[in-house]
Symmetry: C2
Subunit: 233 residues, 2 copies
Amino acid sequence: MTYELYYWPTIQGRGEFVRLALEEAGAPYMDVARTKDGVDAMMKWLEAPGASYAPPFLKAGDLIIGQTTNILLFLGARHDLAPQDEAGRLRTNQLQLTIADVVSEAHDTHHPIGMGQYYEDQKPESKRRAKEFRAERIPKYFRYFERALEGNRWLVGDRLTYADLSLFQLVEGLRYAFPRTMKKLEKDYPSIVDLHDRVQHRPNIAAYLKSERRIDFNEDGIFRHYPELEGAA
Amino acid sequence: MTYELYYWPTIQGRGEFVRLALEEAGAPYMDVARTKDGVDAMMKWLEAPGASYAPPFLKAGDLIIGQTTNILLFLGARHDLAPQDEAGRLRTNQLQLTIADVVSEAHDTHHPIGMGQYYEDQKPESKRRAKEFRAERIPKYFRYFERALEGNRWLVGDRLTYADLSLFQLVEGLRYAFPRTMKKLEKDYPSIVDLHDRVQHRPNIAAYLKSERRIDFNEDGIFRHYPELEGAA
């Protein structure tokens, strides 16, 4: 069976966490909205009974699975990207949800006042929000993930899970959006950086990152590089 | 086994979604932080290996389960508050995650600039954010949940799930925070209101709501009633 992934075609966004899991698993999938008329198809599925509230969603045969962490819960079980036992499955889901919280906060650094207004119309507010995010929030989350990696090669158990792929992607996104901040911070979180590097060099991930399937970061996505949000004039 | 729930003792907050599931299930639990020295115990567990990033978390024997939606995933399976089959379980989790998204946005109406600053220091920004939340976001989410209830008594399948309990709580919270808005909106979402009322009158829930275990809404929680965020002068 070929999975059908539905997500905005020009950004990494939340869909990227799903793409990484599919790529690592070597699972056959179509990134539907990047094909001809694919966005129309996505919009139609959003109106179907049992639809997801928003992209990304995954069609797996008759199943429509919405919400990023929920898709990963499904793929983790199907493709051995999470432990089989209850404790391990729950722990992986918990870490993924925590990563999703950081991702939401990263998004809010450029849209603190809301999705309905342009970044340009909420720039002073974005600067305030980004300042706290850089100074307080990233370190707090990173301390947590660093501690979760204490004495472990992987976040959960002794093998890679989808939470590791997502932590890799979080580091990638933050490096893009806040390069100066990350340059200063990263030395304090050697286990996170080491995990990032090991994920990056896994054969399937390395091949994916070099391929055209990997969309470049850009200022329509969740992680956006606006120099003024790092304190540049 | 008696569950140990750990959450801030003076607010409903995210912990309330867990409390409602435990109460509906009639599961024995201790709300630990509301007991003597309970907050200290909570803080200690947050430093333990395998800890949650933040409250709420649930201790179930040796398991420490963090993240609200993850706790509900666990309780749903254990206490028959979610379907047994994969499709139903995933659908319940997806809806719960979507409810969690609204809850986060409700929180951000009074803290758009960040957690590190008082509401009083982000009031003008809160007004802008709340305006969009009331006018655009609540209706968009409610349309989605109303449609999910089309022709169904419950959100998933033909029996109550924890997602129904959470939708009840979402309505409760929004009524408290934005009473004028909800008064105007609710007539457009009869299925949501009907579900809310049916949940409210379930014996275990009704008994809980009348008990001292139910904390009143207040301005330290997620749903806060600030008249100025509803457009009052």
